[in-house]
Symmetry: D2
Subunit: 331 residues, 4 copies
């Protein structure tokens, strides 16, 4: 879970960044360098956002590359059969993005703090991934043909280790020399409704502080020398986002009822364009700075999400593991 | 954590119930049957609310009896020395309310769901209370003189057991026949600033659904046949309370800036008297119904609060345990 | 996990009690009142011991009734498919022993200490049992037709609660009035090879201290007024049993090599009949009194065993749950 | 917890290695290159073993260097006051071995598997160590003067990560460039009585497979380029060690009673010199290969040991932390 001091509602989701761009500027040219395709299924919506140019990257505040999002309210629920189908979708997208050769070694990194439930997604996935790299010499070739060499670690957060996470990962990557890094993390979103209902895959690495001057070491091809796929789920929103969302609803409601062109309507309209989110943040500060909003059953939901992602990673990585093996290789 | 479908911000705290009464009705007679004394220390504020008559009970929506509240922002922080002083204050208040004879047996009940961090306060306290009732025959008299017979259990919540908690407690009380029940629970508050910063003791039992027709079995002298002391801490607020608190701040801010007697000021004033909380709740429903607001470090804070309460219970109950033994009898 | 001060290796397993009887006395009449049928499958061995008379009960040191044992070394391993077949076998035996009417309420009790991994079997099963009793009024009849009213609780051990477990259970049973109690517990065995490889079902209740004067309250039809089915797995052996088992192996080895009728052979033979186990226990005392022997991966094994038993309970109890639903109703 | 396939009882403790040397060879010259000083206090025994030459290293099967052992049966018990005194002793020895300059950075590594209680000592210590390295820029100089830059991580075991632990540590050390590595690990001992009652400090690094051809990467000055202090506690013995210990007791007992010069006595004597341990291991194999012996309350004991070591590390490392701060900086 990466946080920043920023007065606009921060989002790690490319689909939300695009919504913000569209809200702020209705000209078509504003989306130059950004290609979007959507695929609305019965159970989920799959969106592919391709940022193709520097201009697009600047507009979106995100690096050039591909962002695939799976949205499904059922991700929050305990619907075993739907989750199995989503595992299949996710595994397919991941295998495509990864584009690995048969014997390439992969390192899976679980980011986040295992002591804080909504930030524990990454470490939980890592604990469920089938790790095989150390077995290469011990197992017979016929078995090893069915698995790819996979290593995995959850390095912890800086407050726990005293070290920048990027430094730890860089140190390990330099010794292990894998062909691909897969990093799993909880994300920030700006819509309460997306909590635990969205999975984003991207091939651009993790850019925790892009655009806001955060000094944290990025995990991407430039810094690590290997491709990085990030898999993330927004698991909380901060208190200000919740208030903001609610006030938006209220204003919409009031606008409907207020007469157009009345001074009150004007005020409300004006207010939307002012830094409403900034005002809220300021008011919530200081005593609510550390508050976050999360569903009551967050422990169970994060556990299930971790299972979905880990199953997808196992299927996408190991040639011998298929949909029939779901949950079989999880401890 | 007891919840209800109610459109006014629900509170388990007598001090908040009184604030609401005062806000709604400024006549002095409105507080008939309610006596309040306050004691403002450097580190904490101690408030005693005595509801002395049926009228007072009806006004407050709480049973006749005594409610002692300790408020201290430091309860949230990791301030070992301040917490030791608060343990002393709490132990003294508890011993007074309990008013036990030397060899009276006490049963401590930890209410709430141990799988949901902010609801796990009661079970955590129970795990730290020094349990001695089963040692009565094994230990020599000289040692037994230093301890009171104390039993303790966390029965779980109805969603876990399939049984009304009150039924389980009643069954155990009927067989064990203790002289006092001490019940520990997480509470609902209506001010975000009170989360994890307030401990309430009361001698009126627990009345989960008082006034809103909730059918849950009460734990009090009428239902159990023995006195019941409730110890509680508000550990979360619901999302609607957070939004409400924030909007109150915003309105206050805007009122300061708006010209008095302008139509806008009037609208804001009017809005305060409308069912703002109800409107918010309606808007948040359905997708935020299960959202709650909690501090990031809730696990650590609830652990520390459980330690404070358990130490106070141990000192108040056992003649041989004093302030010098803090943390010594916790596993 | 029930323990006793006893110099002969203590067993909760009827199949082991019978082995001891056979070892000590080779006359056929010694097994009067004890009927045994065995069913050796490819993956497991199913043994039914019926103690039919008082004489049989006295010989075996166990109450009159039925004891069904499933033995399978694969219970220790992570063999998902074999475990699914064993769930089916267990569910069938349990349904038969339970012999319930369609709407009878069942209470499931998880005995043992959740803080000690090998003693946590009962509480772990309870956390995975589908609890439905509290839904009777909330759910539509068509759904309720598919489930039986089931309640469940793990009362904890006396060292944690200060109360005799039997007292707590009696208190709850008296208020809830279920038609059947199912109690799950870790057992003591006298063969190291049976650890985590044996499940015993019995309809005789739990008789923790039968025959050794232990005063603990029994959980059976006499004390509770309802039938009691016990489900148990031996999860540890004490250190003395391990030493004893090993020395038996050594003696057998040495006997093979020693000439018959030599004084040495005689000594070894004699030694077997002496109180070897008692001697070992004495030697191990005091510094090894609290030592127990357990497999390295005990956490994972107990988790899987709990899953097997909980699935079997769910299938045996709820008409609408079948083998196709394995793991689906576990949190 | 490092294990090996070896038929002689394996020990990580220098004091046990010396006992073995003394048992096997009573000549004085056998201890050439090994200096031992002992300090018997009322509550604990402090032994310093210095291996000063290659010959001594070969005799002991351990690298040249210093091994400090604190033995105290009270380490197993819940004796807060004694533990505080032992923290003081341990902190003093650690500070001396570490011999750091004022601002040297230290990396603390918790070895072992957090999923297996007796192997979780290292990770538990790490979770209680005060980590400060990341605060160097954020905090004012006056506060930073009271703390040393300390980082800490628990990398997990190879079965979990797929990577050699030494590789991970090497990668991190190469990037972080600390001046000292402190590695905490559970150890193997060959006497059941030493379980959880002994803490060993050494400045020789960790040599998991010394002498038995184990290929695991060592953590020492040669491999990492910085000094390594290892802190360890034996938390389990394997089943064979338990049986061996018990049989030694039995033989001693029987020798006392047997007439000297009888053939039986001769046999017992002979047996001692045979590969008794090897025989036991063989007999226990295969079904007990993975069994280990541990005290019932192992969770609580390992927690307390971790607290003792973490407090000692905090006091030895940070100039501003003293005995008055025990437990204050642990989460």
């Amino acid at each position: 879970m990466r946080k920043e001091k920023n007065i606009s509602p921060r989002t790690d989701l490319a689909i939300e960044a695009r919504e913000i761009v569209q809200e702020q500027d209705e000209k078509e040219s504003s989306l130059d360098g950004i290609e979007v395709t959507e695929d609305q299924g019965a159970e989920y919506k799959l969106t592919r956002v391709h940022i193709t140019t520097k201009k697009g990257s600047h507009t979106m505040g995100k690096p050039v590359g591909t962002y695939v999002t799976i949205e499904a309210q059922k991700l929050k629920e305990n619907d075993v059969e739907c989750h199995e189908r989503l595992i299949g979708v996710l595994a397919k997208e991941l295998a495509e993005l990864a584009n690995l050769k048969r014997h390439d070694t992969v390192l899976v990194i679980g980011l986040g703090n295992w002591n804080i439930t909504p930030d524990a997604l990454g470490p939980k996935v890592v604990s469920k991934v089938l790790v095989t790299r150390h077995l290469q010499e011990a197992l017979p070739d016929t078995i090893m043909e069915t698995v790819r060499p996979v290593a995995a670690i959850s390095p912890g957060v800086m407050g726990i280790t005293g070290m920048e996470t990027g430094e730890i990962v860089k140190g390990i990557v330099d010794r292990l020399r894998p062909k691909l890094l897969i990093a799993i993390d909880a994300l920030a979103a700006r819509k309460t409704s997306r909590i635990n209902a969205t999975i984003q895959l991207s091939d651009t690495g993790l850019a925790p502080g892009a655009g806001v001057g955060n000094q944290r070491k990025m995990l991407n091809k430039e810094t690590l020398g290997i491709p990085v796929i990030a898999i993330g789920v927004p698991t909380v929103v901060d208190a200000a986002t919740l208030v903001n969302d609610t006030m938006d609803c209220m204003l919409r409601e009031m606008k409907v009822q207020a007469e157009k062109n009345s001074p009150f309507y004007e005020m409300l309209r004006a207010m939307e364009h002012e830094e409403k989110y900034g005002l809220i943040t300021e008011l919530l500060h200081p005593y609510m700075e550390n508050m976050f909003v999360t569903p009551k059953e967050v422990d169970a939901v994060v556990d299930r999400l971790a299972g979905i992602i880990a199953n997808a990673v196992n299927i996408a990585m190991h040639p011998g593991i298929s949909m029939a093996d779901i949950n079989r290789y999880q401890s």
